[in-house]
Assembly symmetry: C2
Homo-oligomer: 205 residues x 2
């Protein structure tokens, strides 16, 4: 379906940062650029608006700029979900999940993360490994929705060496709690990990 393709394209452009907050999104312009009619573009707009990525202001679509308060709120929701993911992972991780989790935390990955070369990717891989071990598809998709904002990438990219190191230790602690089957502790650590990264955003700005 064209409308699906348009939606994916626009969403990627917003999250990746090609389209900036407050930038107007003009139906006809996008339609021409993507070589489709306005109809699939309109349908994509509805979905992007439901995702909270764009908003209609005075009969115009613009990329939405989240206020600091809203970013904090999103992080609080995400903290709850990452906590639940870690909890369920500690209960349910099978052999394959454990292998994946151990894999994303090996010495090689640590080097890449701490050096900053692939910090965003390594970070995502860890959180993906946890959520995957939770065996809950809905939780997975909700967490993807929460990570679907432009500001997430910026956060991890703003870490200095000290914070990268601290963040990695937290990952290790969460993984250990999961692998050793301590759901309450895993949930607590994961929640605090997200809360911690949240406070960093606001200290910096």
């Amino acid at each position: 379906m064209l409308s699906e393709r348009v939606y994916q394209t626009l969403r990627a452009e917003i999250v990746h940062g090609d389209l900036w907050p407050n930038q107007p999104m003009i139906e006809a312009e996008i339609a021409e650029r993507l070589k489709v009619s306005r109809t699939p573009v309109r349908e994509s707009m509805q979905r992007l608006a439901a995702d909270g990525l764009i908003v209609s202001r005075r009969r115009r679509w613009v990329v939405y700029e989240h206020t600091p308060e809203e970013i904090q709120e999103i992080y609080e929701v995400r903290a709850a979900l990452e906590g639940q993911a870690a909890r369920l992972a500690a209960d349910r991780a099978d052999e394959e999940d454990r292998a994946v989790l151990a894999g994303v935390l090996d010495a090689d990955a640590k080097q890449r993360f701490l050096s900053g070369r692939a910090r965003v990717e390594a970070n995502e891989q860890f959180h993906d490994a946890v959520v995957r071990a939770a065996h809950n598809q809905r939780l997975t998709s909700e967490l993807i929705r929460m990570r679907l904002y432009g500001f997430n990438t910026r956060v991890v990219n703003s870490y200095d060496a000290d914070l990268l190191s601290r963040s990695w230790s937290e990952h290790e602690a969460i993984a250990t709690a999961i692998l050793e089957g301590r759901p309450d502790q895993a949930a607590d650590l994961a929640r605090r990990h997200v809360e911690h990264s949240m406070t960093i955003i606001f200290e910096r700005s």
Copy 2:
């Protein structure tokens, strides 16, 4: 906007149970019934599909029927969010929140709930009071999304006197933890409360 009105109408019809799972939703039919053209109906379909309420099967829209596994997944997500709401409420509830929370748990409300007369409403009022005290708009809207499924209402309606009583006690315990400012305990109790109601669905079916 017509498309907004159509969306609200259809969503309400699905959640309320006027439209049944697997029932086909025909664009032209709905357009005629609601006296609008097919365009706003199409746009509503996109949003309903994003909500997971309808699904396109072989080029036709039908009301989606969640599998038991998916219902369990949704409850696990909701457990995490209600837990977080209770945690934040324990940290942040102001005088007005406390009054509301006490109000929905007074002797009169208890009577109405236990007698079964207004069980669904009283249940929603309690959870609303908690989420309101959490002072997090995003968490509120995510929780509303989670309660937006037809099966939720059916759950509370299937409670017998014993379960109603047990459920009320859990509400009281959560409220106490919030009012006395014990976030960890409030979160734990709220999460277990949702998990508990979840297990009931599956024991019954």
